[in-house]
């Protein structure tokens, strides 16, 4: 993070190259103006701008049963509830790596299941990734190699407004220094084609993709999985007549696309499992991976799944290296059991007797739960439907304190920096305070 030139005491301080940890795309060139504790975004997408903006107002204090309390008192109350719980559920997991480590420590000390608020798409993809595997590419590989991008489902700019700018820049001469020849795309000299199977391109997407050849294969949302299966079948030279229900012109276009993918140098298949119909997301992931398997016999191709909101990728990675299992795992008493059907948050809450909800990136309230105490380590702006038994407002990673988050491609881990003096504890600090009352020093 590079700071701008020094300003007078009350003039805004311009902070450049801010890293964003919200959507998972991992943009790291944002710019904000900071005055005291107030933050005004200057260069950021709409979503990041909304989540980065801060007023100078003093933050709320922790609360126990709705009454103001110190952090120590709130932590002691939370620890008391946790010690009494027999089936604690930890949800949200919206935190940086250090915060997640401490939340996982709480799970180990008190016994609890772990799941992230944005894990539904991840688990749809794991249906394929963990059971069979796939060949994937990271952002910079897509950016430089992809000559044919196939998108299933909705226009990705709705969730990731800068995706195309980052992943698919058009060829251009670099500001008079093109002799170096280092501007992406380095290896897609003949231009790129982008094909959307599902929605049509929004105006924003078209603008971001100017310079590329665009193809739309309009397919209703509930038939995207069928279309993906059709593409996979066409690539395998299987009879596509059996795949029914799709408009005839879509079938013809997908068969044509299969031929183009075989001729492409580095085709990439992309989808956002979180926005596909839940019953179809795993099927799309499977079909995309099958398509890559088939293409890889003669050319190169890769999947590029979209996801990663609020560091869900980091939570997934940490669960793997700590416990050897993905999220939706219960830990405690020296063991870990991974049963996704039982420990997805909604399922776990049916049998749970305590909910600890952590959401530091955005003010997402805890899921509805009436089966026991609710502890919220939450964004200060969180509006609760029901006052939690313990509320500890926490700072946001990349705003109030430094931290690490994973980008959606699961390879790049980015360093977040503090933009302003912290007045709230981070999740790590709040969780450590709870741990100290559980008899386990952080």
């Amino acid at each position: 993070m590079a700071s701008g030139e020094p300003n007078a005491a009350d003039a805004p301080r311009i902070v450049r190259d801010v890293v964003c940890g919200f959507c998972g795309l991992g943009c790291d060139d944002l710019e904000v103006a900071v005055t005291g504790r107030a933050i005004v975004p200057r260069k950021a997408c709409a979503e990041a701008a909304r989540l980065l903006a801060r007023s100078d107002a003093p933050p709320p204090s922790p609360r126990v049963n709705g009454a103001p309390a110190s952090l120590a008192e709130a932590a002691a109350a939370a620890a008391g509830h946790l010690a009494a719980a027999r089936a604690a559920v930890i949800s949200g997991l919206g935190a940086d790596l250090d915060g997640l480590r401490r939340l996982f420590d709480i799970a180990m000390a008190a016994g609890a299941s772990l799941d992230h608020a944005a894990s539904a798409g991840l688990f749809a993809n794991l249906e394929r990734l963990a059971r069979r595997g796939w060949i994937a590419a990271t952002l910079a590989e897509v950016r430089n190699r992809c000559d044919l991008l196939v998108i299933f489902g909705e226009d990705p700019t709705r969730s990731y407004s800068r995706l195309f700018e980052r992943a698919l820049p058009a060829a251009r001469a670099v500001d008079g220094q093109s002799a170096d020849g280092i501007a992406a795309p380095l290896f897609a000299p003949d231009g790129r084609r982008v094909v959307m199977i599902g929605e049509t391109f929004s105006a924003a997407a078209r603008s971001a993709l100017s310079g590329h050849a665009l193809t739309e294969i309009a397919v209703p949302a509930d038939q995207v999985a069928t279309a993906a299966a059709l593409l996979s079948a066409a690539l395998a030279d299987r009879d596509v007549g059996a795949v029914s229900g799709l408009p005839e012109d879509a079938v013809a276009a997908i068969v044509t696309l299969a031929g183009e993918m075989k001729a492409a140098r580095y085709g990439v298949l992309c989808w956002n499992a979180a926005t596909l119909p839940p019953e179809d997301a795993a099927a799309v992931a499977g079909a995309a991976a099958e398509a890559v398997d088939r293409l890889s016999v003669t050319t190169r191709a890769a999947v590029f799944p979209l996801g990663g909101q609020d560091n869900v990728t980091g939570a997934h990675q940490l669960a793997l290296w700590r416990f050897g299992y993905p999220l939706r795992t219960v830990v405690g008493a020296g063991m870990a059991r991974h049963v996704p059907e039982l420990y997805a948050t909604a399922a776990a809450l049916k049998d749970g007797d305590l909910l600890l909800h952590a959401s530091a990136f955005r003010p997402t309230p805890p899921p509805d739960f009436a089966g026991g105490p609710v502890i919220a380590l939450a964004h200060p702006d969180t509006v609760f439907a029901r006052e939690p038994d313990v509320f500890i407002p926490v700072g946001t990673p990349g705003v109030d304190h430094a931290g690490h988050v994973f980008r959606m491609d699961s390879v790049v881990c980015l360093p977040l920096s503090a933009l302003r003096p912290a007045e709230l504890p981070g999740v790590a600090e709040a969780a450590s305070a709870i741990l100290s009352h559980l008899g386990r020093a952080a």
């Binding site: 993070m1 590079a2 190259d17 890293v19 991992g26 790291d28 060139d29 480590r101 180990m108 794991l126 990734l129 963990a130 059971r131 069979r132 595997g133 796939w134 060949i135 994937a136 590419a137 990271t138 952002l139 910079a140 590989e141 950016r143 430089n144 190699r145 980052r166 992943a167 820049p169 220094q177 170096d180 280092i182 992406a184 380095l186 290896f187 140098r265 580095y266 190169r300 890769a302 990675q317 793997l320 290296w321 700590r322 416990f323 050897g324 299992y325 830990v331 405690g332 020296g334 063991m335 870990a336 690490h404 994973f406 491609d409 699961s410 390879v411 790049v412 881990c413 980015l414 360093p415």
Partner: protein, 549 residues
């Protein structure tokens, strides 16, 4: 607080102390010169034990993205091998791809105190370091994978001078906080991104028009001129391909006098003789290693059973994915740096190929004469889990035991190996060299791998037993930085390790160039790619290895 370890048979080959009963004194985390007994010192009896420095594994895939993908695929292995209950349980487990906590505990329980992750991809280095910080009881370090990175290949292809290469290598080492350079299939991983399926040593790769030989020599020169202690750590071309013994011999010949480390050489020692067109090239490789004192190797012994292979060499892993067992695998092209491929394997002694691989590894261990140039590895988990080291040590030290196992493998494989005719048994001194003194020396860790004054107080007491596997599986005591962490093979304390790095200087102009490269080509800020000292081990910072230019 001074600790006196007394009455043990000390094996400290670096200091010329072989099987001498003498005291070892520890104070403030270091070994100190022998001194008369003083009041208040703690005495540890090593009677009946041999005393060694802490074990050092210089090639074991323990941390980072590909290991985590291995964990994702190996859920059955994880369920079969949970960490034991007790005060030092981390709720993890697994044997082929163990969790971080389990990794530290299992290594520590065998008397190891330092382990090096040999394939850190720059773009994934921060992740690898976060995992290493979670591994208790062992010190760690990473080897940075170069030789397929587009920035480097572009520099070489454009004919930029060696100084620019050196500046780039130095910048990358510091940025990734690694302590050595590894090359995986030089140019081959990059070539696979352009759909090339093989790349031999003198074959010209796509796009950049470079041969692996040129990439290798350029990086050898860079490491040598920068003074990075460990020479290029090379995973060569054609891994696993029958006939690759020719490539490996040519690679030894290609090293232009620069020192070179050939890693998991077992996978690169295959001939094509016999009716199955798969044979041992171990004798030729051993002969070449014996004749070339600038070459060192680690073996990458395979051990029978279930494991997972995790490699940056996606070209080779793609070639092998059809024999995945169980039938699943993951590949990834990574961020203009490298790639990875993760493929579960089950090595079977009833398979001709697997049985012969096992024999080839042992032939290499036994035919290469100088133990200072052979390091004990299974290329964990690629040849087998590191927990099999005590068994491997017994195979090396105990000829009847080895012959017994040889008698059980695939019959045709037995006919294709000269193992039965090799009488050599490793001595305790040689075990101390291949697991301690030699890896410390090649990594430039002057205060490790020995028991002289000033060395880190990493000391292991192994109770003398005829069954060397039992002996090396459960030391009587392991001290890490002077603290007792294992007693009778059980973890009794956890301690934080450190992470080694080298920080060679580079021209600030290279920083400017890389800022542009990251902005334009990679699409992220170079400042965010670079890992700050304060990010290592929760603020502890790296332990800097001295350069020797």
């Amino acid at each position: 607080m001074r600790v006196r370890i007394t009455g043990g048979r000390v094996f400290d080959p670096k200091n010329g102390i072989i099987d001498q009963v003498r005291d070892v004194l520890l104070e403030d985390g270091r070994i100190i010169a022998d001194a008369p007994p003083a009041a208040g010192e703690e005495v540890v009896s090593a009677a009946g034990c041999i005393v060694l420095a802490g074990g050092i594994d210089l090639h074991s895939h323990i941390a980072g993205g590909k290991v985590n993908l291995g964990r994702l695929l190996m859920n059955e292995d994880r369920a079969l091998f949970p960490e034991p209950f007790g005060d030092f349980c981390g709720c993890g487990g697994g044997r082929a791809a163990p969790t971080t906590h389990a990794t530290g505990c299992r290594y520590s329980q065998m008397g190891y105190t330092a382990v090096f992750e040999p394939a850190v991809v720059g773009a994934n280095a921060r992740h690898a370091h976060l995992e290493m910080a979670d591994i208790p009881n062992i010190d760690t370090g990473g080897f940075l994978v170069l030789g397929n990175d587009d920035f480097l290949l572009n520099l070489i292809a454009k004919g930029e001078g060696q100084q620019a290469i050196n500046d780039y290598v130095a910048w990358m080492l510091k940025a990734s906080q690694c302590c050595a350079i590894k090359i995986v299939n030089p140019g081959g991983i990059n070539a696979f991104k352009f759909n090339a399926r093989a790349l031999d040593l003198d074959e010209v790769g796509p796009f950049y028009g470079l041969t692996p030989r040129r990439i290798l020599n350029t990086l050898q020169r860079a490491v040598s001129e920068l003074g990075v202690p460990h020479p290029i750590h090379l995973h060569g071309c054609n891994l696993g391909v029958p006939g690759n013994v020719r490539t490996t011999l040519a690679t030894i010949g290609a090293s232009e006098g620069f020192p070179l480390h050939l890693t998991h050489i077992q996978f690169h020692s295959y001939g094509t003789e016999g009716d199955r067109h798969f044979s041992s090239g171990a004798a030729e490789i051993a002969e070449a290693v014996n004749a070339n004192p600038h070459i060192s190797v680690d073996v990458g012994q395979i051990m029978f059973g279930q494991t997972v292979t995790a490699s940056a060499d996606l070209m080779s892993q793609y070639r092998n994915h059809g024999i995945a067992d169980p039938k699943k695998w993951i590949g990834m092209d990574i961020e203009m740096d490298a790639a990875c491929g993760v493929v579960p394997f089950n090595y079977r002694d009833t398979s001709f190929v697997n049985a012969l691989q096992w024999a080839i590894g042992l032939e290499l261990f036994l035919l290469i004469e100088d133990p200072w140039r052979v390091y004990l590895t299974t290329d964990h988990p690629n040849g087998g889990p590191f927990t099999s080291y005590p068994h491997l040590i017994r195979l090396l030290m105990d000829k009847p035991f080895r012959d017994d196992h040889l008698g059980r493998i695939h019959k045709a494989a037995r006919a294709h190996t000269r193992l039965a005719g090799i009488a050599r048994e490793y001595t305790l001194e040689e075990i101390a060299v291949v697991t301690r003194a030699a890896p410390a020396r090649t990594l430039g860790l002057k205060d490790r791998g020995h028991l002289g004054p000033g060395a880190r107080a990493d000391v292991v007491l192994y109770e003398e037993q005829a069954d060397r596997e039992a002996m090396f599986a459960a030391p009587r005591m392991v001290l890490k930085d002077g603290k007792v962490v294992v007693v009778n093979g059980e973890v009794v304390a956890l301690t934080e390790g450190r992470t080694y790095a080298v920080h060679p200087p580079s021209d600030p102009l290279m920083d400017k160039r890389l800022q542009r490269w990251f902005d334009e080509a990679v699409g992220m800020k170079s400042s965010h790619y670079q890992i700050a000292d304060g990010e290592i081990r929760g603020g502890q910072g790296p332990e800097i290895v001295e350069l020797d230019p």
